[in-house]
């Protein structure tokens, strides 16, 4: 499969994962592995198809950061609210959104949850409560905070999870949302994926901090920094934070140190960073590290792996077929759902008097 060689390292001791995954059964460990690998392979496949010009728009690869999304999303109930940003494929795959919907979204076809009208590669799904992410940075953060407020007010036990990047933490809305969540002890977990870059902006120009978890100090709730490429650490930290949120103790901010292997989007050569830096992080690939951990635990056998790969392969094939065969949206298919109510004076418009379809 496309990126197999990229995931094929054998791990020197220093990257070995150690410790317990609290309260995680072997079945769950295996299923989590499958979702991680599925995320990786689907992303790799989409990248390839984009470079082959199979779909328009652009593509934001998450490769390298999968664990930051998948590990926490995997632990959520379907009703729990997820506020992803523009690079959060794993927020959907981790929560179990079928690949075919995601592929159709990338392709802007009518079978996309938004019917092709919104924006390619902005993965979401209404039934899985993964919100339609705003391109506009940290709006999802504010919305997820509002969802957490709503759950609390409506006395539902659900929680919200919001994702953003290192760069997004400089935005004013990041502050207003976190501050409000702190005051009202909202049931939310904030995940900051610090991949060292915001497009071409090095994190040192986003913040004077070394650990973005310290942003939480300004809001009176805990913030921790972890290796987001270490599935075991990530599992334990997110599990703890979700527990905290569900118990009514309030928000947690988790900074996950990670790295995006590819450009900001697939038209970005990313020549602002060094090959050494990229190599350094590819050595810390979260998936093979976790794979080795599972093998050492004898949770993952060659046969099991083969099955997993086969299932993933099949689902990806099906998803790509589905997307490729899903019709392109009707040219005027976006002229609907501007308003939920009817208004006598509203018209979608005309291009010259009277002619409603230009």
């Amino acid at each position: 499969m496309a990126e197999t060689q990229e995931t094929g390292f054998s791990f020197p001791a220093k990257y070995r994962l150690t410790g317990e995954m609290e309260g995680c059964t072997d079945e769950q460990k295996l299923e989590l592995y499958e979702r991680l690998l599925k995320t990786r392979e689907f992303d790799a496949r989409m990248r390839k198809l984009f470079r082959q010009g199979r779909f328009e728009g652009t593509f934001y690869s998450q490769i390298g950061q999968e664990a930051c999304d998948v590990v926490i999303a995997y632990q959520l109930d379907q009703q729990d609210f997820v506020g992803p940003s523009h690079r959060d494929l794993g927020a959907s795959t981790g929560k179990g959104v079928p690949l075919k919907n995601l592929a159709a979204q990338v392709y802007n076809r009518i079978d996309s949850p938004d019917g092709g009208r919104y924006t390619a590669c902005h993965y979401w799904h209404p039934e899985y409560w993964v919100m339609n992410p705003s391109t506009s940075i940290v709006m999802n953060w504010v919305a997820a905070t509002g969802a957490a407020f709503g759950y609390k007010m409506l006395k539902k036990d659900n929680v919200a999870v919001a994702f953003c990047g290192d760069g997004a933490t400089a935005h004013g809305d990041f502050h207003e949302a976190c501050n409000f969540a702190g005051v009202h002890r909202l049931p939310i977990v904030y995940v900051v994926q610090n991949n060292l870059w915001a497009e071409s902006l090095p994190v040192a120009l986003t913040t004077a901090l070394t650990d973005l978890s310290r942003r939480a100090d300004a809001y009176g709730f805990p913030g921790i920094s972890i290796d987001g490429n270490d599935v075991v650490q990530t599992w334990n930290a997110t599990r703890e934070a979700l527990k905290r949120a569900r118990s009514g103790a309030g928000p947690t901010l988790i900074e996950m140190k990670t790295y995006r292997w590819h450009g900001h989007s697939d038209i970005d050569p990313a020549d602002y960073r060094s090959d050494d830096e990229v190599a350094h992080w590819m050595e810390r690939d979260p998936i093979p590290r976790y794979e080795q951990y599972l093998r050492e635990l004898e949770v993952l056998s060659d046969d099991a792996l083969a099955e997993v790969r086969a299932r993933i392969e099949a689902e990806i094939e099906e998803a790509v077929d589905f997307a490729e065969n899903s019709p392109r949206p009707a040219p005027d298919g976006y002229l609907s759902h501007v308003y939920a109510e009817d208004y006598p004076g509203f018209e979608f418009g005309d291009r010259n008097s009277g002619d409603a379809n230009g």
Partner: protein, 327 residues
């Protein structure tokens, strides 16, 4: 049934609608403990408690933006911006997120959000307590804007807005809060339809088109001009977006003359859109230039001498109507 003020009609309707629907909550600055800087939200905290009446930090962007997630999970949010002047920090969330979310999700999530916004001058507040900012939002499909010009509509439009599945900006004029009084039957549940303008005076010589506070100037001017035998037809727009084109066109088709009146600066104000609609869809019936009586193209001044000069007056509206009528 007792006479109540415009602001009391707002307060009463908030009480009634929040009692009616447990998924509603109100969030704003000084809206709880203080009951609102104008007392529009008086008594709500006592009745509905701090879970549903939120005294927000000074975070307008949060006040507007958090409603999206809250609405998605089943709430009916009632955000308040303390002064229209401070809606600009929330502009991004309103225009980019709240107004577009239903469209973006291809109809999966409605946004039943009613954002109240006290606007307008004549209260000695200077540039940041006097603005009329409705025009900023006119180019935002997906957003609804209403602006009551009567006590009945203060209640009726608010009730309709709260029950609507669309995001509504509700513009309440500060100068009308206590100056406007009317009978409002107790328990009255009238729903003023959104998207529908009303001819509030019939006349044959010229049409005055306005809303909110400046509507009162049109009505006064109309009475004065009646004495001179000039019959003005007055339209209360009530909804600014989406505009009720047909009511406006019908009236101007009859009178042949139109004067649009608003308080915001003339250039870029909503009068432009109304004049453009008439110039495109009612052109052949026009017998005179379409004029606009509006604020000056400057910021709103503080000193009383200046403020009085800035505010459009009945005299000026009457003069414009007369000029048009006599053309």
């Amino acid at each position: 049934m007792a006479e109540i003020t415009y602001i009391d009609a707002i307060n009463r309707t908030l009480h009634e609608e929040m009692a009616r629907d447990e998924t509603t909550f109100l969030i704003g600055e000084d809206t709880g403990i203080y009951g609102g800087v104008f007392k529009a939200t008086r008594g709500l905290l006592e009745e509905f408690g701090p879970e549903r009446i939120i005294d927000s930090p000074i975070s307008e962007s949060l006040i507007a933006g958090m409603t999206v997630g809250a609405a998605m999970v089943g709430c009916r949010p009632l955000p308040e911006i303390q002064f229209a002047d401070f809606i600009s920090p929330a502009f991004d969330q309103i225009v980019q997120q709240v107004a577009r979310y239903y469209w973006r999700t291809n109809g999966a999530f409605e946004m039943p959000v009613t954002l109240r916004c006290p606007y307008g001058g004549g209260v000695g507040g200077g540039v940041y307590h006097s603005q009329s900012n409705e025009a900023w939002f006119m180019n935002t499909p997906g957003l609804v804007m209403v602006a009551p010009g009567s006590v009945r509509d203060a209640a009726g439009l608010l009730r309709s807005a709260i029950r609507s599945q669309d995001p509504v900006l509700y513009w309440e004029h500060k100068k009308l809060y206590r100056s406007l009084k009317d009978d409002l039957p107790d328990g009255d549940e009238t729903l003023t339809p959104i998207g529908v303008a009303e001819v509030v005076r019939t006349g044959s010589h010229v049409t005055a088109i306005s809303f909110g506070y400046t509507l009162q100037l049109c009505l006064e001017a109309t009475s004065q001009l009646a004495a001179e035998g000039i019959e003005v037809e007055v339209i209360d727009l009530k909804t600014l977006l989406p505009l009720d084109k047909s009511t406006v066109i019908e009236s101007v088709a009859k009178t042949g003359k139109a004067v649009v009146v608003h308080e915001a600066p003339k250039v870029g104000g909503i009068g432009g859109e109304i004049a453009a609609i008439l110039a495109e869809e009612c052109f052949w019936e026009l017998d005179a230039p379409i004029t606009r009586v509006a604020g000056y193209n400057t910021s709103f001044p503080a000193a009383r001498t200046m403020e009085e000069h800035y505010m459009p007056s009945t005299v000026q509206v009457a003069a414009a109507l007369k000029t048009a009528a006599q053309t």
